[in-house]
């Protein structure tokens, strides 16, 4: 029997040469007349070890990494397919501490299965949640999701079940499920990993959402920066349709659900749900006034569930194992797990799925291993470009929506970007305004004009022009943007700006002793 070798097909692995590694393995095995079979699995999310090559053995899958194409010859010389010793050998992958310490619920299959192999998905508990849901009344599905405590993982943290209840209770001839896959936050890639690595779990979650609220059509609004995810999702939808999970008669239940991927076009603002809906309708992505809520008047004016990829991909395990199972994880009002993405200047970057409650320090040092550069970590930005910068003194904050809110920060979509001491925080504050100016939809004045004025004022500060006056101006402008913007883009740009100013005043040329306004 041929020996099974696994080389990930995730785009981060590809960005480090996974295809070249797979080709080199195949070539070397051929030359040596070895009977091997290369499987292209999803990534475990241990990105500092990519390309992570695994070999199936009676003891389990053993790993080697990080492997460059030039390492492949030495792997064969060490007889790695029979468990030979090699400097890059990692032992049984499932036993690697970094992975073992996690609580992988949403990411249970990540790194194990082949993304578009529906039989493997089913063999690893796939579609169990859907099968349970098909035996439940819509109200009972919604009740299960509500009881699980799941909150929107896109960033807003609104209770998913309550959103679904509103759509369920709104009478209409047509309802929609829209998956927000416009993952634009820097430092985040969990949505991409799901879509490229375990697309069926998202499809299953969307079908369940459809059954729960009475929607028969779903759209995945996918950012154009993810071409691999597009191919994988389309292939998975094709497979799921062929196998009877999607279409006019889901598993012969008489229930209907159709699903289509729509490509976004590079506008960050379209991650805002109403702007996303405008874009899906074929318009400029201008933010809508709320009310009406999308749950009542959403896509094409019909009741619409708009959920993030991770929220929807978490629904199957809740329906499979029950609300209690899921809500037993976590702390306070933050129930379940959060797929945390470690990024920026860290030694061990990657996907850490943990119950809420873990501290930033544990993530940065125990998992992240400190900075890659070896210099002290000066600041971390949590929650994307609209998230606050946190200094070392706040690293003991547990990951919990409310605890973060107490220190005027956000968890957002769970991205953590670390910066070492070489970062200039005035420059990062300037970037926050600049990004807002580039991405503003232009509908409201505080965001459209405020962002541009913000860049100008910070330029004055950085050039040392009348710093005191301009710092006061930044605070005043931030107040206007916070309170006067139509959506989170303008409304939250002050988070990175003011947190940088408050925690790192020296970078702005301000005396640390000056009272915070």
């Amino acid at each position: 029997m041929s020996i099974k070798i696994f080389v990930p097909i995730d785009s981060t692995a590809l960005s480090l040469g996974a295809n070249e590694v797979a080709n080199a393995i195949s070539k070397e095995a051929k030359a040596k007349k070895l009977d091997i079979q290369i499987n292209r699995n999803s990534s475990r999310g241990l990105f500092w070890l990519e390309t992570l090559v695994e070999v199936e053995t009676p003891q389990g899958r053993i790993g080697f990494g990080p492997i460059n194409p030039s390492d492949v010859k030495s792997l064969f010389d060490a007889d790695f397919i029979n468990g030979g010793k090699h400097p890059l050998a990692l032992g049984v992958v499932a036993d690697i501490d970094w992975l073992k310490k996690q609580e992988r619920l949403t990411f249970a299959r990540m790194g194990i299965t082949e993304p578009t192999n529906i039989d493997q998905y089913t063999a690893y508990d796939g579609f169990q949640g859907l099968k349970n849901a098909l035996n439940l009344k819509p109200e009972a599905i919604v009740e299960t999701v509500t009881a699980s405590g799941l909150r929107g993982r896109g960033g807003a943290a609104f209770p998913t079940g309550i959103k679904w209840k509103t759509v369920l209770d709104t009478k209409a001839t047509q309802k929609y499920i829209v998956c927000n896959a416009d993952e634009g936050d820097s430092g985040t890639y969990s949505d991409r990993m799901i879509m490229e690595g375990d697309p069926f779990v998202l499809i299953e979650g969307m079908i369940i959402a459809g059954l729960a609220v009475g929607a028969t059509q779903g759209y995945i609004y996918l950012r154009s920066e993810y071409p691999h995810a597009l191919k994988t999702l389309n292939e998975a939808i094709h497979q799921a349709t062929k196998a009877g999970y999607l279409g006019e008669d889901i598993l012969k239940s008489g229930k209907v659900f159709h699903l289509e991927v729509r490509r976004a076009a590079g506008a960050y603002i379209c991650g805002e749900e109403t702007s996303l809906l405008e874009s899906l309708e074929g318009k400029r992505g201008l933010v809508r006034f709320k009310p009406p809520l999308p749950a009542i008047e959403g896509l094409f004016g019909k009741p619409t569930v708009v959920n993030n990829v991770i929220s929807l991909a978490t629904v199957p395990i809740i329906l499979a194992k029950g609300a209690k199972y899921y809500q037993d994880f976590g702390m306070g009002k933050s129930r379940g797990t959060l797929p945390i993405q470690l990024a920026g200047n860290l030694k061990r970057t990657g996907l850490v799925e943990k119950a809420f409650g873990i501290t930033l320090r544990e993530l940065l040092y125990d998992f992240g291993g400190g900075s890659l550069s070896g210099k002290p970590i000066k600041a971390v930005q949590v929650g994307g470009p609209l998230g606050a910068y946190l200094p070392e003194s706040q690293f003991d904050t547990p990951l919990d929506y409310e605890k973060f809110s107490e220190i005027w920060a956000v968890l957002g979509h769970g991205g953590i970007v670390a910066f070492d001491e070489t970062v200039n925080m005035a420059k990062m504050a300037r970037y926050a305004f600049d990004f807002c100016a580039i991405e503003s939809c232009g509908k409201c004045t505080p965001c459209r004009i405020g962002s541009t004025r913000g860049v100008e004022v910070i330029d004055h500060i950085m050039q040392g022009h009348d710093i005191k006056k301009h710092v006061a101006l930044i605070r005043d402008l931030s107040d206007t943007m916070l309170n006067g913007s139509l959506c989170a883009l303008g409304g939250m740009t002050p988070f990175p700006v003011l947190s940088a100013l408050n925690h790192f005043p020296k970078d702005f040329g301000v005396d640390a002793k000056e009272p915070k306004a």
Binding site: S15, G187, E225, A343, G344, N345, I438
Partner: protein, 161 residues
């Protein structure tokens, strides 16, 4: 606005794309993607055809094309090189990389090299933040890019084209 006439070949493509997308709900973005995928950009001279097919004004079509960073109205270089400018890549030295690439290619953002090989664009996050800094060339992402690696990639593509 550019009023040049569509080449017979482009006209055929645009009409084909329109026929394939016209009946979709919210057809405009998928249609623009299809046109750009096939022609390389969205010719302004296609606006009247699109607006007629979807019952929109030419201004509305123009408004949508120009709202989204992804759509362009002119032929780009043979390769599109996008440099990530977002925070994670900044934390790993993308600014220096950006300076190096601009110098190496002799162009600024949104410009094409005189030999038509590369169009340089900024991008805000490729979802490759675990291995910053990142660039995307056409549809492939490259991680942990340094000056040496990007020089190699650029040379390889120049030699290939």
């Amino acid at each position: 606005m550019n009023n040049s006439i569509l080449s017979p070949e482009s006209l055929k493509i645009v009409n084909h794309c329109i026929a394939g997308h016209q009946s979709m709900p919210g057809a405009l973005l998928p249609l623009l993607h299809a046109i750009q995928d096939n022609i390389g950009y969205v010719p302004e001279s296609a606006y009247p055809l699109i607006s007629k097919a979807l019952s929109l004004s030419v201004a509305e079509v123009h408004g949508v094309v120009t709202f989204y960073h992804h759509f362009r109205t002119h032929q780009p270089g043979r390769h599109i090189l996008q440099i990530c400018r977002a925070e994670s890549c900044q934390a790993m030295g993308s600014e220096a990389l950006e300076t190096h690439i601009k110098k190496r290619l002799g162009v600024e953002f949104h410009e094409t090299t005189p030999d038509g090989a590369f169009t340089l664009e900024p991008i805000y996050c490729l979802g490759n933040c675990a291995c910053s800094p990142s660039v995307m060339i056409d549809e492939e992402v490259y991680g942990r890019v340094d000056n040496k690696k990007i020089d190699q990639l650029i040379s390889n593509l120049k030699n290939a084209s």
